[in-house]
């Protein structure tokens, strides 16, 4: 049974180990494989959520996907999906890639050069029994903006166009699982957001589990529920994506990648959400009232004050008690219990000025624009 690499400390909290009897584990694996000097040795279990795979260049992310798609036969170990053993060195089982039904979006695209874009997209689609085709090609073409490209040869496509075709081709197979290797790396911001939103929608609609390799914390934040950090072929960390993002951001230590506060909330009005009993002013959104949403607030955008501020453009002002203080070299991470538990990043100087210590009562304020509301 898989046992997780040593959990890392995140804001003073320990990430619990995965429970042994995770009921809905959709994919279970324990694979070892060597490639020249590199060796991958990972194990894990994924449920039907979206799992981000994060890690430095050369960590083994693509290698792991290659194993899980049946492309690369592991040296040893096992891969089980939905109760079916796809690979087991012990039992000498090695099912063909077809049985994996894990559609792959390759880092290099891998479009069939001798087929038009349409033929590429329809390749796997046509191989599915008709009553099994849950995702319509027409929909994919529309959403991924491919209609102008359908009759083109892959080698005439731009980088971003290739990635979209590869994505459409994979989705068109109505796969049991989706393996995405940096699928939006060469898309512009707008397309990237659209594609990510669509992936999320696909996941909600069809409950297709996804493994999503990305170097972008904001993509992961947006899309993933679970996350794995791979380093040198080993799982360094596994847990909820939001915690991973925080961990990665703090360990990166820079102010460029934000530490996020992430809450489950409910929409209570056109520009307000409630998180447990606290109501927050959020940017205007079109979510209907009572929608379950994820609310995230960047830790660096929260301001602390010892007195209640007056006539201020920050519309969210909460009162609470400092519960932990972690001093770093360039910043101090403080958590404040204010009905909700806020993680706040301040400078060491501010921390001193405000005499931040456990038990200190304090105001926390942030602007509506600091709040990101996304579907739960």
């Amino acid at each position: 049974m898989p046992s997780w690499a040593e959990p890392v400390l995140l804001n003073g909290k320990t990430i619990p180990e995965m429970p042994e009897d995770l009921r809905h584990s959709f994919l279970e694996f324990d694979v070892q494989v060597r490639r020249g000097g590199f060796s991958l040795s990972t194990q894990g279990r994924f449920d039907s959520g979206i799992t981000a795979i994060f890690g430095p260049s050369g960590a083994g992310k693509s290698t792991l996907l290659a194993c899980l798609s049946g492309e690369l036969k592991p040296d040893s170990g096992m891969i089980r999906s939905g109760g079916e053993t796809l690979f087991s060195s012990h039992d000498a089982i090695h099912k063909p890639p077809r049985s994996f039904r894990a559609a792959m979006v390759f880092q290099q695209g891998m479009l069939f050069p001798h087929m038009t874009v349409r033929k590429n997209i329809e390749y796997g689609y046509r191989l599915r029994p008709e009553n099994d085709r849950s995702i319509a090609v027409q929909e994919l073409i529309a959403i991924l903006r491919l209609s102008r490209l359908l009759h083109r040869a892959p080698n005439t496509l731009s980088g971003g166009e290739r990635q979209r075709v590869a994505l459409a081709r994979a989705l068109a197979t109505s796969p049991r699982m989706l393996l995405l290797d940096e699928p939006v790396a060469s898309l512009d911001i707008r397309l990237r957001n659209e594609v990510l939103a669509y992936l999320k929608q696909v996941h909600e609609k069809y409950q297709i589990p996804m493994l999503y390799v990305s170097h972008s914390l904001s993509d992961i934040m947006f899309l993933a529920t679970e996350a794995i950090i791979l380093e040198s072929g080993k799982v360094k960390w596994f847990g909820p994506a939001r915690q991973m993002v925080m961990s990665a951001a703090t360990s990166a230590g820079g102010s460029s990648t934000p530490v996020e506060n992430i809450f489950s909330g409910t929409v209570t009005g056109p520009d307000s959400v409630s998180v447990s009993t606290t109501t927050l002013w959020a940017p205007a959104s079109s979510f209907p009232v009572a929608t379950d949403v994820t609310v995230s607030i960047s830790a660096s955008e929260i301001i602390l004050a010892s007195q209640r501020p007056q006539a201020i453009s920050a519309r969210n002002v909460l009162f609470g008690t400092v519960s932990t203080v972690n001093r770093g070299y360039t910043n101090v991470i403080v958590s404040v219990d204010a009905g909700i538990r806020l993680v706040v990043e301040v400078t060491p100087e501010s921390a001193t000025e405000l005499s931040l210590q456990v038990g200190r009562q304090i105001y926390a304020m942030f602007k509506t624009s600091s709040i990101l509301v996304t579907p739960a």
Binding site: P96, R98, F100, H114, Y123, G124, R128, N155, T156, A170
Partner: protein
């Protein structure tokens, strides 16, 4: 030219059948050579290439021995020599190494990751072979078929030894040319040679049309000339 027409038809038929026989076997062997790590690879490679290393006449004698009553198959295959089918066999054996070499070149330029992409999308191996491998190797495959057909069409040495030179039965264009030359019928000989070249050119044209303009890149395609 009427007898010549029969000769031409016979040669076309023999070369076509020979090519059709070689193609699937050649593909299997080429796939074996390209895609396996078997210790037998070199042995198979050598066996397949052998007819190339021998003068066709020698190949003819070898076939005569192999399929004759003294050969390993004994009397079972004795009826083959000096028939239409012997022509097919002789040309097939001689053309085979060329076909396999070309197939090997074609198959080995197919990126296995593209084949995997197809399998990943749900295709069974045979479907991958038909829809991905063969089309991507088409330059080598078609080139091999062209070489095979033309070589079979022009085969003389092995054929005349193994199939004889029986007018109206085993006398194809090459044997006919040889006979015409020997008897000093040079005009007829050159006419038949010209026919050979025309048919070879036709095969080449068909080949070129089928191969199409491969190898265009993003910047270097034909849209500009369109």
């Amino acid at each position: 030219m009427n007898p010549n027409l029969d000769i031409i038809v016979l040669s076309l038929r023999v070369a076509t059948v020979a090519t059709l026989i070689i193609a699937p076997i050649g593909l299997l062997i080429a796939a074996f050579l390209v895609r396996t790590r078997s210790r037998w690879r070199f042995a198979v490679d050598l066996l397949v290439s052998m007819p190339l290393a021998l003068p066709p006449v020698v190949v003819g004698f070898a076939l005569l021995w192999l399929f004759g009553g003294e050969g390993p198959f004994g009397d079972a295959t004795r009826g083959i020599a000096f028939t239409w089918f012997a022509m097919v066999l002789a040309s097939a054996v001689v053309a085979f190494p060329l076909v396999v070499r070309s197939f090997v070149a074609g198959l080995s330029q197919v990126d296995p990751r593209l084949e995997f992409a197809a399998r990943n999308l749900g295709a069974a191996p045979w479907r991958v072979a038909i829809t991905i491998t063969l089309p991507l190797a088409r330059r080598g495959i078609l080139g091999g078929l062209l070489l095979g057909f033309v070589r079979a069409f022009a085969e003389f040495g092995a054929t005349i030894v193994f199939a004889g030179n029986i007018p109206e039965r085993t006398q194809g264009i090459p044997a006919a040319i040889f006979s015409r030359i020997s008897t000093g019928d040079f005009n007829d000989a050159w006419a038949l040679a010209a026919v050979s070249i025309v048919i070879g050119g036709g095969a080449l044209a068909v080949h070129n049309a089928l191969v199409g303009r491969a190898g265009t890149t993003q910047w270097e395609d034909d849209s500009r000339n369109a």
